[in-house]
Symmetry: D2
């Protein structure tokens, strides 16, 4: 399936770590559809990942950036637009991490330095990315910005811990910034609320395997895979969805099921 849907479009993809990453699959699909992009990730994540391999496959370059650093983001935006030879049409934000989860702190026993760090990385970073793009006037009209989120923002999955709250903040940022990006620059901003996905990051969540099996069993169509999420993201980057904005789009066949 490749229809050159994104031919001539340029963008930045945050968060590809390895071939299990949704961002990795998205990069591959965007490339198939004719899009050009810069890959980025935090310097520390890049050491763990194989992002250069992906860059080679997709004829892209890698610009490291800490998505919590305004300075790094400003440089990234400047270098990416320069490298790509113009403004951007699409951006994917696929970034999330809870220190409380990593350190095994219960939700009722949060360490607030950890909470603040996780919020900055997982939620505020989306605002920082958009503010960097907005201030640099780096998006073309009818551009599309997508961030990945999870249904825990609406319903409680106990082991998801403070990531639930971070995702709620992230989804609100999509609406709030989407208003201004729409009105001033004709750019749309949405979140995809993706099925639990066996990424390398996702697998760190306690009880993840049990949950993903449960979701698979409950969902009429089965869980959405990372590759299917990449497809959905392609549709949101394409011109087919130019008036879809400020929405949280469930790509999770469990969300409408009660039991």
């Amino acid at each position: 399936m490749a229809n050159q849907l994104l031919s001539g479009k340029k963008g930045i993809i945050f968060g590809a770590l390895d071939e299990n990453s949704i961002a990795w699959k998205t990069a591959e699909r965007v490339f198939e559809e004719g899009g050009q992009f810069v890959l980025t990730n935090a310097p520390i994540a890049m050491r763990m990942g194989k992002i250069n391999e992906l860059a080679e496959k997709t004829n892209s370059i890698v610009i490291p950036a800490d998505a919590t650093s305004e300075e790094d983001l400003a440089k990234l935006v400047e270098q990416a637009t320069e490298h790509l030879g113009g403004k951007l049409d699409f951006v994917l934000h696929s970034i999330g991490m809870s220190v409380n989860v990593r350190k095994g702190r219960a939700y009722t026993d949060e360490k607030y330095d950890f909470t603040a760090k996780g919020w900055d990385v997982s939620a505020l970073s989306f605002h920082k990315v958009m503010q960097s793009l907005y201030k640099a006037d780096a998006m073309n009209e009818w551009g599309s910005i997508v961030a990945l989120t999870y249904m825990a923002a609406q319903r409680t999955f106990p082991d998801y811990n403070d990531m639930a709250d971070n995702k709620a903040y992230l989804e609100s940022v999509a609406r709030s910034f989407g208003y201004f990006f729409g009105k001033e620059k004709k750019v749309r901003v949405n979140t995809i609320s993706q099925s639990p996905t066996p990424t390398t990051a996702g697998q760190g969540v306690k009880g993840f395997d049990a949950f993903i099996n449960y979701a698979e069993k409950m969902s009429p169509l089965g869980n959405a895979t990372a590759a299917e999420c990449a497809d959905y993201t392609v549709s949101l980057f394409s011109d087919l969805t130019r008036k879809v904005t400020m929405q949280n789009l469930f790509h999770d066949a469990v969300s409408p099921i009660q039991e």
Copy 2:
């Protein structure tokens, strides 16, 4: 913009009346993308419309059917699959009509025969269409069924009258039938909650012009047009969205705005 996204796909499109209809625009776009289809509308609506003109342009045929008649729908499904040479991949339901609105009855002074008729045409017909397809086993796996709805199902727009309640029922039918269609046939079912659109039908609603202007002014990206709704529907018929199901998808730039 034509990428042969629907190449080889077959379907039925309900509700094209004239070139202002969303269903009309959808038929044109599906044709551009390589899809084949049968057009249908109620016999009475067809006398008022110019559907044959559309059939000619899109290399399709017209099969009249009253979408409230199980018998008509069974025949339609049989003849459409025969004509198209196989099972269906997509169906668009774009049907709605309130007798209370037409007759100028206030919401607090409904005539219940009118209410029942409007409910049958606007809401139950979607169940009837899907039950006909389901019983005839007429959908291919990974097929996509879309109905058009309106935000009045969530928020009150006083002049929308009993159509608000009909749309709430319709959206519930999408979820309920979507569950079974997903589980048993791997078919997805969604609704698009479209901006107020100056179709010939929409223009019959009192206060429509004031409302559409207000929506245009409030929405960061402007109202979604019928043509843009057709684009969005193409994305939902395509393989890019195979795991999106049982969702009500806002295509209405006012929905997330408060004021």
Copy 3:
């Protein structure tokens, strides 16, 4: 717990069948809190129930009425206001029945006469009740109208069948009529989305016991009982909630839980 919260308030309570009914428990609690009311139910339901026993305990009278009959409802409103000596302050609608469920028809094999009957009884009856009250100008300012509903209107519980769609319609009627009842008469209209409750009616739903046990296990506080629903309804009839309107209020400890 009795604080004379409803002292001096008058109303109508629909749907008390036996001591398992939510409406029965509500009548008892409203009586304890000093409210006066008329009980009503469909003539056929009354033959099966023990409503006269309840009337005796709560110093009320019973006026039979078919809630799908405008004529019956007009008489009920007239006789109730006459009996109570003035306009009404509260109304409870606790009515629901699916013929498809009773007859064992699957959701994908509905008989549409059954569907229409169930919709009339379960959903449209709420509009009919309110239109009767509205036309007779039978509600006092700051009166409160409550209907009972169920989360299946939002999320799919396969065995709930067409009642899911009926409840979605009912909730929409609450919003739509709530707008006019608020603006013109200062009356509020809400729905309570109640836990699965082992009423005599509820027990007719296939898979009910398994479901109620599941809900009990998942919910942090356990299922809400009929008596607790009566308490919540008292709060909504009281002056403590005069600006709560057009809301669907979950009283169901499962709704916010994901798994």
Copy 4:
């Protein structure tokens, strides 16, 4: 209206500044209903307010605490339970402040130190309050915790700035912590999404007057006042609502209106 609904109940009320405060009105109403409580506010806010006057009227004491300080909160919980002679039955969190708003920064030009401070004060403080109560095991079974929020968490009101995102986080914390507080301690946690209210704090928001007038005009019942919010909170602190938890409850007659 005083029915001794909260007789014997004990609690803490955060955020009373002056007689325009919702927390102030709530304290007065809770006192009328027989509840006993400790008042608290940030030391800096107390210098600006007249909280001692309120303490005198309501026979309560004031314990200053910075709601972002775990240490202050631990002391507050300890001293309050000691003063009141037992565990708590209710807590009101009415705290919010955006430095970006105060300093006139646009949403697209946030200063992230300001953002982090506002998030800590307005959103994370609710987690900190609950974690302090939870760790000290300071809540009685069937206790009730309420925080105030605003519809900007769902829909965009441009001038509300980063408070929208803070409120989204706050509402998520209510759900997330509500799960554990319910399961482990039988305590419920909810948010009230209150109308725009002319408090001293609210009046600091740009465009506030225009907005409040608009809301008044649109809402069928008029805006909910601070006194009415106090009534609603009383109902949520009372035993009438013991199974209502993890909900965001709109007390805002505009939320269901489209236009």
